[in-house]
């Protein structure tokens, strides 16, 4: 009995300590942004690996999500004779919720896991320790470019997700469901507010991007330097960042809208 209570205590303390270490790492990274921007080619390379290579999965997923939204929305709206509002339904769902959240989840699976595995393996093979021996700061050289590229990429990916999803919905609504194309756009423009819906959605995705990137980088850096340690860190990145994105989304939505 006492043992179980003690274990709970140990667990909570270890979570607290880990969030403390993550906070310190974040501060270290933020502090060294001005220095490391002088070597922007490191950032460009990471933007390519983290952002550009995630693009195909984002575009394909967005296309299908947009089409499914249009199809499902149509079958619900047609009961109320309101199928002309389909464009608004698709656009609002994508810009407010699905764009940021799904882009974040896909990013966590596609890029977050890869970042953790890479950094964890660098640690396990003592490359990070080697850099320190040569007086190269691994936080500046390895962690910061990866973190920044995630923060920059996720809003771009989310904006693309929303845009492509709306176009996917348009393709289905106009070609298959027979909704007038002018109506599709005009209802959307009437109901979507740039600041309220589009900018708030992008702000959400910025928060998600920072969250996922910090988790991915930190869990890799903090992983036990063994094969099992790297693998569990990778799993933890995907699980934790997905859960945190959804929880964060709920709290941001309840504050914003």
């Amino acid at each position: 009995m006492i043992e179980a209570v003690r274990r709970t205590g140990v667990f909570s303390l270890s979570i607290l300590a880990a969030s403390g270490r993550a906070g310190i790492l974040l501060m270290q990274m933020l502090g060294s942004i001005p220095v490391s921007l002088r070597r922007y080619e490191l950032l460009v390379e990471q933007l390519f690996r983290v952002g550009v290579l995630t693009l195909p999965i984002i575009i394909v997923a967005a296309l299908f999500v947009g089409m499914v939204l249009a199809l499902q929305g149509y079958h619900t709206l047609v009961d109320f004779g309101a199928e002309s509002s389909l464009g608004l339904l698709v656009a609002l769902s994508l810009t407010r919720e699905l764009g940021p959240v799904l882009a974040g989840l896909l990013f966590a699976g596609r890029a977050g896991a890869a970042l953790t595995a890479e950094i964890g393996l660098m640690k396990a093979t003592e490359q990070l320790a080697g850099m320190e021996m040569m007086a190269v700061d691994p936080v500046r050289r390895v962690l910061l470019p990866r973190f920044l590229s995630g923060v920059i990429s996720v809003p771009i990916l989310a904006a693309l997700f929303s845009a492509v999803g709306i176009l996917g919905g348009y393709l289905l609504a106009v070609n298959v469901l027979g909704i007038d194309q002018a109506v599709y756009w005009s209802v959307m423009q009437e109901g979507v507010d740039f600041q309220q819906d589009v900018l708030n959605g992008l702000f959400k995705s910025l928060v998600f991007g920072a969250l996922i990137s910090l988790l991915a980088v930190f869990l890799g850096y903090d992983a036990r330097p063994t094969p099992a340690g790297v693998s569990s860190a990778t799993t933890l990145t995907v699980v934790l960042s997905s859960l945190l994105v959804l929880a964060m989304d709920f709290s941001l939505t309840s504050i914003m809208f």
Partner: protein, 154 residues
């Protein structure tokens, strides 16, 4: 060579993101059409505004000429005070114009509709539209109808 290729694709990636943002701002949301150009404000008091919302269109003869910018309750008269931004393209609205709250379709969004009056003086910044007609509340209408039906055939 490979370095350049990476830089080009990253550039394209960022440009694609900006294009998506432009698309979201001008095609999807109402960034261009919504802001009333160089507006002047007039206000009107209604007994009941129904479900009129801020940003609802203000129309004359069905043409959109502005939008509702603020709705508040006048504490003295217990009436709703609706403040409207009207585009200065339409600065020759007679001062005795009347305002009514109509509904798009049977259950659609509500909007303010202005009917021109006959005077030669025109509405300007801060003026009040005196003739107003409240929103038709569907529930009251149905209630009246039911009540009439009951009294006429016992």
């Amino acid at each position: 060579m490979k370095r350049q290729l990476i830089e080009i694709t990253v550039g394209l990636f960022v440009i694609a993101g900006l294009m998506a943002l432009l698309f979201l701002s001008f095609r999807v949301s109402n960034l261009n059409s919504d802001s009333v150009s160089d507006p002047y404000q007039v206000n009107a008091r209604f007994d009941n505004i129904g479900s009129l919302k801020v940003r609802a269109p203000v129309t004359m003869a069905g043409v959109r000429i502005g939008r509702v910018s603020e709705i508040r309750l006048d504490p003295a008269s217990y009436q709703a005070q609706v403040i409207m931004d009207i585009s200065s393209d339409f600065n020759k609205l007679p001062i005795d114009s009347s305002a009514s709250i109509n509904t798009q379709g049977l259950l659609g969004e509500q909007f303010v509709s202005l009917e021109p009056g006959g005077q030669l003086k025109y509405l300007k910044e801060g003026d009040r539209i005196r003739l107003t007609q409240s929103a038709v509340v569907l529930e009251n209408l149905i209630g009246q109808l039911l009540f009439q039906g009951k009294t006429e055939n016992p």
